[in-house]
Symmetry: C2
Subunit: 359 residues, 2 copies
DNA sequence: AATTGTTGCTTCATCGATTGAGCAAAGAGG
DNA sequence: CCTCTTTGCTCAATCGATGAAGCAACAATT
């Protein structure tokens, strides 16, 4: 390394004295507008080389302090423990960077207090825009943002003060419910109402899904009682407990189940295993959300996968279009068939034959 | 809202003129050392109230520019698509905040180029410390950091230039292999070598796990051929393809499998299903990593869960102790039995009885 | 009355990058 | 040879928060 020992980081002033030039020339070269500022390409090259050698990195704090836009985009997200939020976060980072923005993400554990604190911190870091994903009180966050002159957008759960991008929960749930009911008819030869389990009754998505659930039942001529609807919360333990309580009251859970998230599905599967039903093929399940392993669980589970890339695409479109009105854009989720089979029939047959021959 | 319409954010100067005082008094009050600076409690109260009313948020860019320590701690992480990294990220955020640090995390998709760019960006944001999680070239990042006078720590995969906290992969793999071999004996009545699948042969963890895998075999008097070891990469498709190729060569994969990650397990399960083996109870699997749904898959799968809280605890201890030597701390993973059964036997029996009675 | 101490502030330089304004030197045009 | 333009830079103010140094007003001490 040619770099001298230094406790402090290299600044444009260090580079300037090394290059025998001024800090403003260095600045101009390093942020790319040296042509506009009529710096010779020789000097530009020299400075670039020096910066490289010295391992220079712009002090963003100083840079952002001076500029009007930070190009930082913040996102708050409830949890990292499922594929839905995982892929939201991963795609968000990617798409933000592709647009020259710096993403910062923070997890708020579905805690309203933490959401507010996180939002305040993000504002301190001068975000240009804040995305509230699955926030319990998105309007509160929008208020904080607009007080600071910062845009905000709601994702996954809608708000009333900022634009929102969400899944089409009603249609998705209606279609999923219909599928589960048909599977029940086919597999169990029965046409009974399903059990709805998981989620918070107070949140918009759960309410819409329950509406779709009801609609599908009535369209198929099945009536559902209030007892079949258990929006018991998101944690796996809550679903387990809700099922336990049902049984304790002497009620056998319906054999067809609409599970409101993979997290709740975790609890349902645990409960089923515990109740000795894991191997019985007489439980028919559908889940609003996707997980690769859940998709491979013994019984065929219908899974609706929310269309994360499309949702984020819409979201960035809104940002670029400068949308500030509280519109709600609904993105259709991906239904099981649309996805197509995992492999073609021919491929599967070939693999099976090869496996058997080898054995 | 009493707040006036403003395009700009409120600064300490705005608050100062509103309070009829100076900016430095406002600063002293808002960052809590007003007693040290002998500001009267009346003025302090007045300023605090005004700040509240105006929805003031410190401009971190300005604040950090002035201070010597940023209290920002960065982490780069390969993916968000599994429970291991998900819980690392979630716990890391939590523990960082608990220590008064501001966590920023970025996902680098196992791409060496992206890792370097991400590290450079984090240095730009003046992180005090950078954690490289599962980095392909952690030493490169350590070099960049030390050039900027920033500490760095490796997590999950070790480096040679900075302290590292990793799982005890050798012992974990040895124990897991032993378990799978025993399960094979019990369930299949055979004592054949297992298949090792997934991961990168070049990474330290995979190499250590292969070493443990071999050790366990030799301890149990089973010899493993080179052909049984397939470190084919991490993506599910890679595991699928590796199995396909094995079969294409006329080799039947071993019925006992050591799968190197849940991501690889996804591919293995898909392949087994495709090959028509998903229902056969004659496949015995163990996985180095944990996933709640994988744990519920038909065949009993032994899963080793890496001890994320313990690893992060060690990591923060190192940070606080100012450790800079390239020591490697190994944290024992959680073996299946240590976790205990999901529910007690009594509870399970009670639930089963209730379920049957209700039905 | 003179000195010293304390309280409660204000002033101002500073962190590093940015950018409008300005200026010297070289080249072009007459 | 003189003016005007272009080229290639430098100067200095600025962003908002911070904290050392300083200062006025009053109280306490000799």
């Amino acid at each position: 390394m040619t770099r001298p020992k230094q406790a402090k980081r290299t600044t444009i002033y260090d580079l300037a004295s090394l290059a025998g030039t001024s800090a403003s020339a260095v600045s101009a070269v390093l942020n790319g507008n040296w042509k506009k500022r009529r710096i010779s390409s020789q000097l530009a090259e020299k400075i670039t080389r020096l910066a490289e050698e010295q391992g220079y990195a712009t002090n963003m704090q100083a840079s952002l302090l001076r500029r009007d836009k930070s190009h930082i985009i913040g996102m708050i997200v409830p949890k990292y423990d499922n594929r839905y939020f995982g892929s939201i976060v991963e795609s968000f980072e990617d798409m933000a960077r592709a647009r020259g923005l710096f993403p910062i993400i923070t997890c708020t554990r579905r805690d309203p207090q933490l959401e507010v604190e996180a939002a305040r911190t993000m504002l301190s870091y001068q975000v240009d825009c804040l995305i509230s994903t699955g926030a319990t009180d998105p309007d509160r966050i929008t208020e904080m943002c607009s007080a600071a002159g910062v845009r905000s957008i709601n994702l996954d759960l809608p708000g009333t003060l900022a634009p929102s991008v969400i899944s089409d929960n009603f249609e998705g749930a209606r279609e999923l419910t219909r599928k589960i009911l048909l599977n029940c008819e086919r597999q169990l030869n029965e046409k009974n109402p399903l059990l709805f389990i998981g989620g918070r009754g107070s949140d918009h998505n759960t309410a819409e899904r329950i509406r779709g659930f009801r609609q599908a039942h009535s369209e198929m001529g099945v009536s559902v009682s209030e007892e079949n609807i258990l929006p018991c919360g998101y944690a796996p333990e809550k679903a387990e407990k809700a099922l336990d309580e049902l049984v304790a009251r002497g009620v056998l859970p319906a054999k067809g189940m609409f599970v409101n998230s993979t997290i709740s599905l975790e609890g349902v599967m645990r409960w089923l295993r515990r109740a000795g039903a894991i191997d019985r093929q007489d439980v028919v399940i559908g889940c609003f959300d996707w997980d690769p392993f859940a998709a491979l669980l013994g019984h065929h589970i219908e899974m609706v996968r929310q269309n994360v890339p499309a949702m984020l695409e819409k979201m960035f479109e809104m940002i670029e279009a400068g949308q500030t009105k509280p519109v709600v854009v609904q993105v259709p989720p991906i239904m099981p068939d649309e996805e197509g089979p995992l492999v073609s029939r021919e491929e599967a047959l070939k693999a099976q034959t090869a496996y058997r021959n080898a054995g």
